[in-house]
């Protein structure tokens, strides 16, 4: 640990890294995206913490308990749609390795469609609740509940929009360095949203049903 442990002979030491290739572009980009996802995970963590804090009986003043309004069918459908979408995106990445443009395009298109299916289910479910007068303005618990559900849905919106942009870029640029790193980051993003959905499903929907 001490500074003079490694003595380097100044006569033969290399001082300048000539023709240094610089850094690995795609690796740097994905590393940064991992860091971004850490921040997003912290946002979710804070939201889940809020949900836990606001899940006591006293936070449900003037509104129904989750047992009475949560519809597991919708949540289950959303789960299937999102996981299928992640699977198809994974297949798109397999095609990226092969270098098949048509394969990547097709599978991503399918992912985006499944994402839209997810959104459709989510929107239907929430409008039903709103129509019954179960809104974020009702009480603290419902505020937290909708905050998580809608925040997650917004991520899916962003993901679908990103997919559409990527489809255009694949068509115009082919697999350039920029496109490839964006596809990899989108994969990270999409899988991450699915992982978060697992938590939403378990801790918001299932727990709401049982408790």
């Amino acid at each position: 640990m001490s500074s003079s442990a490694v003595s380097i002979d100044p006569k033969t030491a290399s001082l300048w890294a000539r023709h240094y290739p610089g850094h690995d572009f795609i690796g740097t980009r994905t590393f940064g995206f991992w860091l971004y996802m850490l921040t997003d995970a912290m946002v979710y963590a804070a939201l889940f913490a809020s949900l836990v804090v606001l899940s006591h009986a006293s936070n449900m003043i003037g509104g129904p308990t989750p047992k009475n309004f949560i519809n597991p069918i919708y949540a289950y459908g959303e789960t299937i749609a999102l996981f299928a979408s992640v699977l198809t995106y994974g297949l798109a990445m397999v095609n990226l390795k092969k270098g098949s443009r048509s394969g990547v395009t097709g599978w991503i298109l399918l992912s985006a469609i499944l994402g839209v299916v997810y959104l459709g289910l989510s929107i239907t479910d929430n409008t039903h609740l709103f129509q019954q007068g179960i809104t974020p303005q009702t009480n603290g618990f419902l505020s937290a509940f909708f905050a998580i559900v809608i925040y997650h849905a917004l991520h899916i919106v962003v993901g679908v929009a990103w997919m559409l942009v990527m489809l255009i870029q694949i068509a115009t640029e082919g697999f350039s360095q920029n496109v490839v790193y964006r596809l990899i980051n989108l994969r990270l993003f999409w899988h991450f949203q699915a992982v978060i959905w697992v938590f939403v499903f378990v801790f918001v929907y299932l727990q709401g049903l049982l408790v």
């Binding site: 640990m1 500074s3 003079s4 006293s58 003043i61 003037g62």
Partner: protein, 291 residues
């Protein structure tokens, strides 16, 4: 820092210990820094060894000293926290045994920007004035109508948050007759600077006669009256504060429930943009019985 109550004294005792130990560490460190600066200044006497950058002995010392200090202080801190814990202060319990009888119960409601003290057993209430008998433990229940306040009487008892829709507790025993200042320590808006109350510690005999005096006061306080009372009001330079000879039973709990169900006492826009005009307006409203 002139403690007159049991809790305040306990705090003060630990405070002195804490400061003493910290000084014991910090003063020699500062001295060492100054010595190093002077001795090893350029052209000074110190030997120059630019390569000297590590020594396990010193390493052990520099980790050891803070570790030991923090260990000792942590132990003291935990002890102190348990000694002055507002919910069940050990010191108060002992005083209770000594004094015998029942503790005095006081319900405190903080409004914008006044303190209402309700004595439920005596069914009286005072504003910005707390009167307690000497030597008898006093147990408070506190809540607020609008925003978070902090209840403190520096010479008698430490701080406790006063929160809307929630109930907190505090307790005190005072050993000397006298008059002490209490105030709100958490920012609550425009009237904060005027939100202080006097605490009078009197003998038991004086206390009971004071209670009977208040009980003859014609003013009554019901929940409706309280909702008027709780409107934003800045008590600037008031000589006499409202006193209530008759208070609705369980008013404290009713207020807590109301707030939990979402009642608010809204603050007007641009509160006290012009203080003088605001006060004139407030006086007008008071004459009309708005409060």
């Amino acid at each position: 820092m002139d403690p007159q109550g049991l809790i305040a004294k306990t705090s003060y005792h630990y405070f002195l210990l804490d400061v003493g130990i910290m000084l014991l560490i910090v003063v020699p460190t500062a001295a060492l820094a100054i010595w190093a600066m002077i001795r090893y200044r350029k052209g000074g006497k110190g030997t120059y060894q630019p390569k000297w950058a590590h020594s396990w002995t010193i390493e052990a010392i520099v980790w050891g000293i803070p570790l030991i200090t923090v260990g000792v202080l942590s132990y003291l801190s935990v002890k102190a926290i348990y000694a002055v814990n507002p919910y069940n202060p050990g010191a108060i319990s002992q005083a209770q045994k000594k004094a015998g009888g029942d503790p005095l119960e006081v319900d405190v409601i903080a409004t914008d920007w006044r303190w209402l003290f309700i004595y439920p057993k005596q069914h009286i209430a005072t504003t910005n004035e707390l009167v307690v008998p000497k030597g008898i433990p006093v147990r408070f229940r506190l809540t607020s109508t609008s925003v978070v306040n902090d209840f403190i009487i520096p010479q008698l008892v430490g701080m406790i948050d006063v929160m809307p829709g929630m109930r907190t507790k505090q307790a005190l025993v005072s050993d000397h007759i006298g008059s002490y200042v209490g105030f709100s320590a958490d920012y609550s808006g425009a009237g904060l600077s005027w939100m202080h109350f006097t605490t009078k510690v009197v003998s038991k005999h004086q206390f009971s006669s004071w209670v009977s005096t208040i009980q003859t006061d014609p003013q009554k306080l019901t929940l409706n009256g309280f909702n008027r009372f709780a409107r934003p009001y800045i008590p600037v330079g008031e000589k006499s504060q409202p006193k209530f000879g008759e208070v609705q039973q369980g008013l404290f709990d009713l207020v807590v429930n109301e707030v939990m169900k979402g009642k608010t006492w809204k603050t007007p826009m641009d509160m006290t943009e012009n203080m003088v005009a605001y006060l004139n307006n407030q006086n007008e409203l008071q004459k009309e019985g708005y409060y």
